[in-house]
Each structure stands twice: as structure tokens, then as C-alpha cells.
Symmetry: C2
């Protein structure tokens, strides 16, 4: 009985291995990728910061730009700024739109933050660029979609870029190589549980 | 015209702020949370490692257990082991099931790896426990669901736990406070682009 199960398992896994190996052999292009992490669920920005750690693990160069966020301190911000004071890390720093309630001021802040993002997207020494919460700048029409798409498309060929935030629009989806939609199935917050230091921010 | 837009924006954001503030006021419970990151899209493990950085940013204690993975070196593994040699970091280390093709060997490895996970889930000094790819151990029936659910439910009240992997089963979904389903909309790999160091592993 157990032997049967083991034999069957081996056969299934052998077939699976053939499939996996075939897939790996077919993936031959070596270029940086554009990744869009969208949707309303938890895990988009934290995933981007996980990739930052992955990159730093290989000694790659990373640049980070955070749109919207920046008023409240976050664990990843403390961490990166303390451990990597020379890593390019720009934050719009105006806080959430419902805090500023100031459209014109937000637009000015968005545009000067974008200037920093654009520099990173033109720098071939940077392996990974994180554009955290960039999608909202498009949704609110604070930044020009054409300018952003153009900068992403024309970045150095080996550079990867990770964009996070709900929405983002169909053009961004189209030019992204990888798109994950993080769906909120449920969130602790809706159960009355406070946002957690080290987990939520 | 622009003034109208700005005034409307301010009014909308004021209303939104009231809603946000009400929500924050309603979330009064301070406990650790159980987060399940599931689905077939990219970003589950990287999100868990993003939370690791968040936690370390606040000086919290973290423990990591990786099921399945461990044969191929990853950026996050290099990073954590180099920078935090004393951080509890256990890996099943058998590689993918299609590589081992050895069900009985995998079960033994899963169970001895679980022993380490259980120790972390009983240690009130650990603020965040990552159980990367744990769901597969349930799907393959390598570990007892009851044992796992029990250990998670009875962990120290301030401890958070992040579980990643496709599936996981309805009981795990039920006891989790936060569940995100990461849906694969598209993946660079399917376009023939090789998995990227620092991005995919």
C-alpha cells in the first residue's frame, strides 16, 4: 500500500520534472524584468522589499522610490536607512492623500519625486528599482502615464523594476513582464486587530 | 476649473480621512496575527522576507523555516545567513519534490523540519515566524494538519506568523487573520525570460 503510493509519487514527480526541465530550457532570454504587484490585498510593498533583500544578497545595486508613503515611519525604512545609508532611497513624504487633502501640493511632490525615479531608471549600475505605490500617481493623474511608461520601457536592458499599488492601468499591465494581483481574501484589520509593527508597517 | 478640481479633491479626501480614522479607532485589539499568502502568482515568499526586514527594522526577533526550498541558493538565504548568523533559519533542504522523487525521504525531512518550526511557535521571544512553503506539506500530506493548526493556534499571543505557498486548505484559511491570494496574471518566465537572480530567487 505505502510502496504503491511511493511508486506512484515517483512516477508523477518524474513526469513533473520533465515538464519543469523543459520549461527551464525554453526560458533562454536574460534580461531585467518589469514586475507589477497590484490588487487590494496585503503583501505588495513587503514583496518589493523582499526582492530588495534578494538583490542585496547577491551584492546587486538597488534604488527605492516610495510614492505616497513616508510620513509614518516603517520598519523597512528604518532598516534600509540604518544599514544602507548610501542606498538611493527617496520618499514623497507627504503621507496619504486623505491626510494632505491638498491636490496641488501633492502633484508638486509627486513630480519632484518622479525626477529621482527617472534618474534610477536611466542608471545602468542599478540592478533593481522599486517604485512603491507608483500606481496611485497614475490613478490620480498626478504624473503623466506616457512619461512613466516611456522611462520604464527605455531603462537599461539588465535592470529590473518592481512597481506596487492598486490599479495601475492597462498600459502598465501590458508592458510589465510579470503581473501579480494580490487579492484581499480577509484582513486582520477588519477583525478589529490593530496594524502590527514589523508586519503591516 | 483647476480650483474646482482641487476643492472637490479636498472634500473627497476629507470624507475618506473620516472613514480611515474611524477604521483605525475601531481596530483596538493588539495581538500577533497569522498571515496566509497563497495563490499561484509571484510575490509570496518575497513578501514574507519583506516582513522579516520590517521586523528587523524594529529590532524584533525573527525565526524562519523553509519547507521544500533549500537546494538552490537564494538571495534572501545568502543575505540572512551572512548578516544574521544567529537568526534561527531552518531549511528542509531537500529541494523540490520533482527533484527528490522520494516520498518517504521527503516525509522524514518534513517532519524533522517541523520540529524546528514548532520550537519557534512555542518561543514567546520570537516576534515573527516565517513558515515558507508550508502549505505544500499539507497538500502532500507530509505533515499532520491537526498538529500544524494546533501549534499555530497555541503560539504566544503577541507572536505573528506568516505562511506562504499555494493552497493550504480551508482550516488554515479559517484560522488565519489575514489571507491574500496572489494571482498570476502573467509571468516573465512564460515569455521565455529566465528566472532572475535577485528577483526570482
Amino acid at each position: 500500500m505505502t510502496t504503491d503510493k511511493n511508486t506512484k509519487h515517483k512516477a508523477t514527480q518524474q513526469k513533473l520534472k520533465e515538464k519543469v526541465d523543459k520549461g527551464i530550457a525554453a526560458a533562454t532570454v536574460q534580461v531585467g524584468v518589469c514586475i507589477l504587484l497590484t490588487g487590494d490585498g496585503k503583501g505588495k510593498s513587503s514583496s518589493a522589499f523582499g526582492m530588495v533583500i534578494r538583490s542585496l544578497g547577491y551584492g546587486h545595486k538597488v534604488g527605492i522610490v516610495q510614492f505616497i508613503k513616508g510620513e509614518q515611519l516603517s520598519g523597512e525604512e528604518i532598516y534600509i536607512k540604518e544599514k544602507y545609508p548610501s542606498l538611493p532611497f527617496y520618499q514623497m513624504g507627504t503621507g496619504f492623500t486623505w491626510d494632505t487633502q491638498d491636490r496641488e501640493g501633492d502633484i508638486v511632490a509627486a513630480q519632484s519625486t518622479w525626477v529621482e525615479a527617472e534618474k534610477l531608471l536611466q542608471n545602468p549600475e542599478i540592478n533593481l528599482v522599486v517604485l512603491d505605490e507608483l500606481t496611485y500617481m497614475l490613478a490620480f493623474d498626478y504624473l503623466s502615464e506616457a512619461t512613466i511608461i516611456n522611462a520604464i520601457k527605455n531603462r537599461p536592458v539588465q535592470q529590473s523594476v518592481v512597481i506596487t499599488g492598486r490599479g495601475g492601468g492597462s498600459v502598465l499591465r501590458e508592458i510589465a513582464d510579470t503581473v501579480s494581483e494580490v487579492k484581499n481574501i480577509k484582513h486582520a484589520y477588519d477583525l478589529g486587530i490593530q496594524a502590527q509593527k514589523g508586519v503591516d508597517f
